[in-house]
C-alpha cells in the first residue's frame, strides 16, 4: 500500500469541499482499502466521511424510506421495519460477507464497490478496467465470471444491496458543491464496461451519495433475496436472485426479478418477470421464470454451471418470497 494523507470530515459540506485534486472518498473502507492493499489503486488523498453523522441512519417517510448512505449493512438487516416490509433488503444486507464486515461496511460503499474479477484485482494483470487493452478472463480462469451482458469485460456485479435496491425501485441522491443535487435509479448509477471500461459509476469526483430513497411497496408486496456461493461462510455469490412480487390474492400482479453475479452490472430479467405476471406462484411458474432468467446467456469456458444454478436461485427465491418455501439451506446464511 502507498502512503497517503487523510482528511477527516464530520459534515457533508466539509466533505464536499475536500473533493478535489483526485481525492478519494472513504466510508467504511472495506473495499477501498482492499484495492489499495492489492496495489491496484494508489490514491494520495483520502476524504474520510465515516463520521458524517447526517449521512447515517434510517428514516421512515410517507413515500417510503430514506437510507443514509453510511448506514451499515448490519444496521439495515437488523431494522425491524425493513425486516417486515422490505425482506429483500434485509436478506441482501444480512447475508453479505461476514458479521464483522457487515458491522463496518456501509450501504453506500456496498453499492460503489468495484467488480469481482481476480484479474482486475491483481496488480500482476493490467486489463481494460485499468485502461489497458485486453481482458485476461476470456482465455483464463473464469469460473466465477459473467454469463450474460458482458461485452468486453465478464466481471460480475458484487453488490448484494444493489440487487435488492434495484428490485425495490430505489433511487440514489447525489450531491455536488457546484452543481447541487441529482437523483438516479440504481441501474443508471452503473456504467457498463463497453461504454467506459475504467469508470464504474456515473458519480463524478466531486459528488457524494447523500441519500438512498426506497419507495413504499405497493399493497400485497412480498420479497426475498438469496445468494449462492461455494460455501455459506464468507463467500461471493456465484448466483443470486432478488424477487419482489406484488400479489393480489393468489395471483402475481407484477414481479421484479434481479440478478447480480450474472453480469458486470446488476440486471433485471424482463423475461422472468413476464413469466410470473398475471399468474399464481407455484413450483411450475417459479421454475419457468428461473429458466427464462438465463435466456440468451453465453457462458465462458468454465462457468456453464451457472446456467444450472441461476434458474435454481430464481425459482427458489420466488417461492421463498411467495411464502411457499423455507429459506434454502444451500444459500448463504
Amino acid at each position: 500500500m502507498n502512503s497517503f494523507s487523510i482528511a477527516d470530515c464530520t459534515t457533508v459540506d466539509a466533505a464536499l469541499s475536500q473533493l478535489k485534486d483526485d481525492a478519494v472518498v472513504k466510508a467504511g473502507g472495506v473495499d477501498l482499502l482492499d484495492r489499495m492493499k492489492d496495489g491496484i489503486e494508489q490514491p494520495t488523498r483520502l476524504v474520510n466521511i465515516r463520521n458524517v453523522a447526517e449521512l447515517r441512519g434510517i428514516r421512515e417517510t410517507d413515500q417510503g424510506m430514506t437510507l443514509g448512505p453510511l448506514t451499515t449493512l448490519a444496521e439495515i438487516s437488523d431494522y425491524a421495519h425493513i425486516r417486515e416490509h422490505y425482506q429483500i433488503l434485509a436478506d441482501a444486507c444480512g447475508h453479505a460477507a461476514t458479521p464483522h464486515i457487515r458491522n463496518m461496511a456501509t450501504v453506500g460503499g456496498n453499492l460503489l464497490q468495484r467488480v469481482q474479477c481476480w484479474y482486475y484485482r491483481s496488480a500482476d494483470f493490467q486489463c481494460f478496467r485499468h485502461g489497458k487493452d485486453l481482458c485476461f478472463a476470456f482465455e483464463g480462469l473464469n469460473q466465477y465470471h459473467a454469463i450474460m451482458e458482458y461485452g468486453t469485460c465478464p466481471s460480475v456485479a458484487p453488490s448484494s444491496a444493489a440487487v435488492a435496491l434495484l428490485g425495490l425501485g430505489a433511487t440514489v441522491e447525489l450531491t455536488s458543491a457546484k452543481r447541487g443535487k441529482r437523483t438516479l435509479g440504481i441501474r443508471e448509477l452503473y456504467i457498463v464496461p463497453d461504454a467506459n471500461p475504467t469508470k464504474f459509476t456515473v458519480i463524478e469526483p466531486d459528488e457524494l451519495i447523500t441519500a438512498i430513497l426506497v419507495p413504499k411497496p405497493a399493497p400485497g408486496t412480498r420479497s426475498a433475496y438469496q445468494k449462492y456461493g461455494e460455501k455459506e461462510s464468507f463467500d461471493w455469490a456465484i448466483a443470486d436472485a432478488g424477487v419482489v412480487l406484488e400479489m393480489e390474492g393468489d395471483i402475481c400482479k407484477r414481479a421484479v426479478i434481479t440478478m447480480g453475479a450474472a453480469s458486470p452490472v446488476v440486471r433485471r430479467s424482463a423475461q422472468a418477470e413476464a413469466a410470473l405476471a398475471g399468474k399464481p406462484i407455484n413450483e411450475e411458474t417459479a421454475r419457468a421464470a428461473g429458466k427464462l432468467a438465463v435466456e440468451g446467456a453465453t457462458p465462458l469456458s468454465m462457468n456453464a454451471y451457472k446456467l444450472d444454478l441461476f434458474p435454481v436461485a430464481v425459482y427458489r427465491t420466488v417461492l421463498l418470497a411467495a411464502g411457499k418455501m423455507n429459506r434454502d439451506p444451500s444459500a448463504a446464511g
Binding site: M1, N2, S3, T98, W118, Y119, S122, D124, F125, F136, E139, G140, L141, Q143, Y144, Y228, E230, K231, E232, S233, F234, D235, W236, I238, R287, M302, N303, Y305, D308, L309, V312, A313, D328, P329, S330, A331, G333
Partner: protein
C-alpha cells in the same frame, strides 16, 4: 562397508544394558485388552496401568497455555520486538520461468529508511539439478512466479515495502508450463534443464532421489509385492477408477517468519517453526558457524502443518540482513508469499485398479500416480495403497511432474489424503460390484486388529445404522447419504528427543526440552507426566520448551512429538524422583528402598516415617537441585504392528440442483496408542476433519495457464471452510495400548481424519446420489457436471 569384528563386539557390549521383563497392558479396553510380556532396560520406570487408573495422564487436563493464548498474551514471532529492529521485505519474481540478467538495487538502497539490501544467491526449497553446471547463471534461475530474489531491510515495514518495489530485475524469460497434465507432454517446456531432486524435511515430503527423469517427469518410483499380473488373472472382479486431486496450500493462521539477531558470538533467531533444532542446523550449515553459535527460540507458533521445517529462505535472508546491518531483522511473509513460496500439498492424478475374489479377498492393487510438487518433488501418494490392505499382490508407480510453481513441502500426512481419496472410493466401488456392504469388505480385506475394533464401534453407531444401503434412494432434489473411509499412518520414533527434569529444594518442579509446541499441546502433556510422577497438579509444573538452549527436542513432523518425547520426560521424571528419595532418605532416618512418592506425599513402606508432603520432603534435600536428563530409548521389544489409523463416517446432504454438498455429521473413530490428553487429542482430530473437508470441497491453488501466476493468493478467493461448513463431529477415541514405551503414547496429527474424510465424503455422496465424484475440490461446478454426466441431475 564391513566393520571389524572386534568393533562389532564392543558395540554389542556397550549396547546391552541390563534388562528386565515386565507385563504391559496391550490391546483395546473393553475389546481386546490383555497382558503381554516386554523386555525393557532395567532403568525404566514401572509400567503404567491403563488411563482410567491414572490421575493426571489420560485425563482431559486444561491446556497449559490456553488462557495466555485466549487473552493474546502468548508471544508469537511477529510479536517479538527487539531494540533497533529492522523490518524486511522480499522482492519476488513476477514471471514463472526466466534467467535473471541483472538485479539493480541502487534506487532501493537510496530510499529513506533502508538499512540493508540482500540479493539471494542460493534459493532454498526448489529441487536442485544433479549437475549444477547445466545452470551456469549468476543468479538463481526463476522457476516460479513468487520466487524470492532479494530482500530489503528498513526502519519501518512501509519503507521496506516501498523500497522493494524499486528493485529492478531484468529477466530473460523462458517458456513455462503450469498445467501438470500438459507438463507430461514430451514437447512441454522443461522446468529444469536436466534431472533434479529435492531433499525432504523432517516432516516427510520430498521425493525419491536418483530416479529416472524424462522431461518434466521425475519417476517412476516403483514398489512391488508379489505378481500383480497374476493377481488380476486370479480376480473374479476388477474395478478401476481415475482420480484427480488439486494442490492445497497449508494456509496456517500464522505465516512463515523469523526475527534474526546476529551478534558476533551468537545468532539468535525467533522462528515460527516446527523444529527448533532443524532451524539451528540449517543456519549453522549455511553460514558455516558452530551449532553453539546459533540459538533458536519458538515460544508459540500459529500452525505449520508440515511447511515449517528448517530456516528456509526467510530464515537465511533475515540472518544475512542482520549480519549486514548489525541490527535485529524481522521478516514475516505476507499471505500471498505464504501461498506461493513456502510449500503446498501436491496434486494427484491416479489410475487405481483393484482385483478381488467373490468373497472380497484382494488379489491385486495396481496404482499409476502422477502429481505435481511444483519445482520440487514429493507428489507420491501410494502410502494408503501400499499399507491399508493386505492384497496378494501390489504394484505402485509414483511420478513427480515438474511445473513452474512453488515447491511443495510436507503437508499433514504427505500423500495420504490423495491416496486414500482414490483407494477408499475404489474399495467402495468394489463393494458395490461384489454386492457387499462396504464395511464388510473392509473386515475381509483389512486385518489390522485396532481398525477391526473401530469398525465394530461404527457398526454399533446410530449414524451408521441409519444408512440406507441403496444408493440414491431419496426422492426430491436434496439427497442424504452416508459413507465411510479408513486411514493409516505409521509409528515413527524421533531418537533426537531429550528432556531434563529438575527438582528444586523449595519443592518446585521444572521440565525442559527444545521441543516446540506447534499447537498440539505438548506443554500440557509434559506437565501431566510430571504431575503423575510427583502427585502435584499440572498447573504447578514449570514447562520450558521451544529453545535450543534446552536439551534437543524432536522436530514436530510425521506425528512423532508425543510418541517420541513423552517416554523421555517420564524416564527423566522417574529417575529424578528415585534420586530424590535416595537423597532425602538419610535425613528421614530410613533408606531409599523404604520410600515411595504417592499422591504428592513421601511415604514409608515400613511405617518408620510418617507421611510428609513432597514440598516438605524437598526441603530435606542435600543439594539445591536434583537434575536428570534423559534421551529416547528405542521402542520396547517385541515391536507391535507399526501402523495405526482410524475409521471416519460422513453424513452428507447433496443438493442436486444447486450442486452443494453439505457435510452434516461426522463420526470419527481413531486410535493413537495411549491418549495422553483426550481433550487435546480430540481437538487435533476435529482440526483434521475440518482441514480435510476444506480440501475436499473448496481449497484450490489456481494458476493462470497463460501467465503462470496464481490468481487467488489470498484467503478470500482461496476458499477455506468457515464456521457454517463445519459439521457436528463426534470423535470416539480408542485407547489402543501397544506396550512400546514407558508412556505408550502414539501420535495423532496425521492420522487425525485428514487422510480419510475426503473419501468418506465422496462415498457418502455416492450413497446419496448414486454418482461417484472422483475429482476434488467438489465445488458446485464439479458436482453439477458429475450429476449431468450420469444423467442424475434433477429437473
Amino acid at each position: 562397508m564391513t566393520k571389524e569384528p572386534i568393533e562389532d563386539a564392543l558395540t554389542a557390549q556397550a549396547a546391552a544394558p541390563a534388562k528386565k521383563t515386565v507385563q504391559m497392558p496391550v490391546g483395546v479396553p473393553g475389546y481386546t485388552l490383555a497382558e503381554e510380556t516386554r523386555s525393557v532396560p532395567a532403568t525404566e520406570p514401572p509400567v503404567w496401568p491403563i488411563n482410567k487408573d491414572l490421575k493426571y495422564v489420560g485425563q482431559p487436563i486444561e491446556r497449559y497455555d490456553g488462557l495466555l493464548k485466549a487473552c493474546g498474551r502468548a508471544r508469537y514471532t511477529a510479536d517479538v520486538q527487539l531494540p533497533g529492529m529492522l523490518y524486511a521485505k522480499f522482492v519476488n519474481a513476477t514471471v514463472p520461468h526466466a534467467k535473471v540478467v541483472s538485479i539493480d538495487t541502487s534506487a532501493a538502497e537510496k530510499y529513506p529508511g533502508v538499512k540493508g539490501v540482500h540479493v539471494i544467491q542460493h534459493v532454498l526449497g526448489n529441487a536442485q539439478l544433479r549437475n549444477p553446471a547445466l545452470d551456469p547463471a549468476k543468479y538463481p534461475v526463476v522457476r516460479y512466479a513468487g520466487q524470492p530474489m532479494a530482500a530489503i531491510a528498513a526502519t519501518t515495514p512501509y519503507a521496506a515495502e516501498e523500497a522493494a518495489a524499486l528493485v529492478k530485475v531484468k529477466y530473460d524469460t523462458m517458456p513455462f508450463v503450469v498445467d501438470d497434465v500438459k507438463a507430461r507432454d514430451p514437447d512441454a517446456p522443461n522446468v529444469f534443464p536436466g534431472a533434479a531432486d529435492e531433499a525432504g524435511s523432517a516432516g516427510g515430503g520430498g521425493g525419491p532421489h536418483g530416479v529416472a527423469q524424462t522431461g518434466n517427469i521425475h519417476g517412476p518410483s516403483i514398489h512391488k509385492r508379489g505378481d500383480s499380473e497374476q493377481g488380476f488373472k486370479d480376480a473374479d472382479v476388477v474395478v478401476e477408477g481415475h482420480y484427480v486431486t488439486q494442490v492445497q496450500t497449508h494456509s496456517a493462521l500464522e505465516t512463515h517468519g523469523v526475527v534474526a539477531d546476529w551478534k558476533p558470538d551468537l545468532l539468535t533467531v525467533y522462528a515460527s517453526t516446527q523444529g527448533t533444532s532443524g532451524v539451528r542446523e540449517e543456519l549453522a550449515g549455511f553460514f558455516k558457524i558452530p551449532l553453539t553459535n546459533v540459538r533458536v527460540i519458538t515460544e508459540y507458533m500459529g500452525g505449520g502443518f508440515g511447511a515449517k521445517f528448517g530456516a528456509g529462505n526467510p530464515g537465511v535472508v533475515a540472518a544475512a540482513l542482520s549480519k549486514k546491518t548489525g541490527a535485529p531483522v524481522r521478516l514475516m511473509l505476507d499471505r500471498q508469499e505464504e501461498h506461493l513460496s513456502v510449500g503446498n500439498r501436491p496434486s494427484s492424478d491416479q489410475v487405481l485398479r483393484i482385483g478381488a475374489k467373490k468373497d472380497g479377498t484382494l488379489t491385486a492393487i495396481h496404482l499409476i500416480a502422477y502429481g505435481t510438487a511444483g519445482c520440487g518433488t514429493g507428489a507420491g501418494c501410494a502410502g494408503p495403497a501400499q499399507n491399508l490392505y493386505q492384497a496378494a499382490s501390489l504394484h505402485t508407480e509414483e511420478n513427480d511432474v515438474f511445473i513452474n510453481a512453488g515447491p511443495a513441502s510436507a503437508m499433514r500426512a504427505p500423500g495420504h489424503p490423495q491416496g486414500a481419496f482414490a483407494l477408499e472410493q475404489t474399495m467402495d466401488d468394489l463393494a458395490v460390484k461384489l454386492n457387499m456392504e462396504p464395511i464388510d469388505l473392509r473386515d475381509k480385506a483389512d486385518t489390522h486388529p485396532v481398525r477391526r475394533v473401530e469398525r465394530q464401534i461404527v457398526r454399533e453407531s446410530e449414524l451408521w445404522k441409519s444408512r440406507n444401503p441403496v444408493a440414491g434412494a431419496d426422492q426430491g432434489p436434496v439427497k442424504r447419504g452416508i459413507g465411510l473411509a479408513q486411514s493409516v499412518w505409521y509409528r515413527f520414533v524421533s531418537m533426537g528427543s531429550n528432556a531434563e527434569v529438575r527438582i528444586h529444594k523449595d519443592g518446585s518442579l521444572e521440565v525442559f526440552s527444545g521441543v516446540q509446541d506447534i499447537g498440539s499441546g505438548i506443554r500440557t502433556v509434559m506437565a501431566q507426566i510430571l504431575a503423575e510422577q510427583f502427585g502435584v497438579p499440572p498447573s504447578q509444573i514449570a514447562v520450558k520448551v521451544g529453545d535450543t538452549n534446552y536439551p534437543e527436542g524432536p522436530q514436530s513432523g510425521g506425528s512423532v512429538t508425543t510418541l517420541s518425547l513423552t517416554p523421555v520426560v517420564r524416564d527423566a521424571a522417574w529417575q529424578a524422583s528415585q534420586k530424590f528419595l535416595a537423597d532425602i532418605a538419610p535425613a528421614l532416618g530410613t533408606t531409599a528402598g523404604d520410600l515411595v512418592l504417592v499422591d504428592g506425599e513421601v511415604r514409608s513402606h515400613s511405617g518408620k516415617v510418617a507421611p510428609i508432603s513432597f514440598k516438605r520432603a524437598a526441603s530435606k534435600m542435600t543439594t539445591s537441585q536434583i537434575a536428570v536428563q534423559a534421551k529416547r530409548i528405542p521402542d520396547y521389544d517385541p515391536k507391535k504392528y507399526l501402523t495405526y489409523g482410524g475409521v471416519d463416517v460422513a453424513e452428507v446432504e447433496v443438493d442436486t440442483e444447486a450442486g452443494r454438498i453439505h457435510v452434516r455429521r461426522v463420526l470419527s473413530v481413531h486410535d493413537c496408542g495411549r491418549p495422553m490428553n483426550p481433550a487435546q487429542t480430540i481437538s487435533q482430530i476435529n482440526g483434521g476433519i475440518i482441514q480435510g473437508i476444506s480440501f475436499t470441497l473448496l481449497e484450490n491453488r489456481l494458476l493462470d495457464p497463460k501467465y503462470g501466476v496464481m490468481v487467488n493468493p489470498d484467503l478470500e478467493q482461496y476458499k477455506i471452510v468457515g464456521s457454517r461448513e463445519i459439521p457436528e463431529i463426534d470423535v470416539r477415541l480408542v485407547e489402543a495400548y501397544l506396550g512400546q514405551s514407558s508412556t505408550d503414547a502414539s501420535g495423532i496429527g496425521e492420522a487425525a481424519g485428514v487422510v480419510s474424510i475426503g473419501a468418506a465424503v465422496a462415498n457418502a455422496v455416492y450413497n446419496a446420489t448414486g454418482v461417484r465424484i472422483r475429482h476434488t475440490p467438489m465445488t458446485p461446478a464439479v458436482v453439477l457436471a458429475a450429476l449431468r454426466a450420469q444423467g442424475k441431475k434433477m429437473a
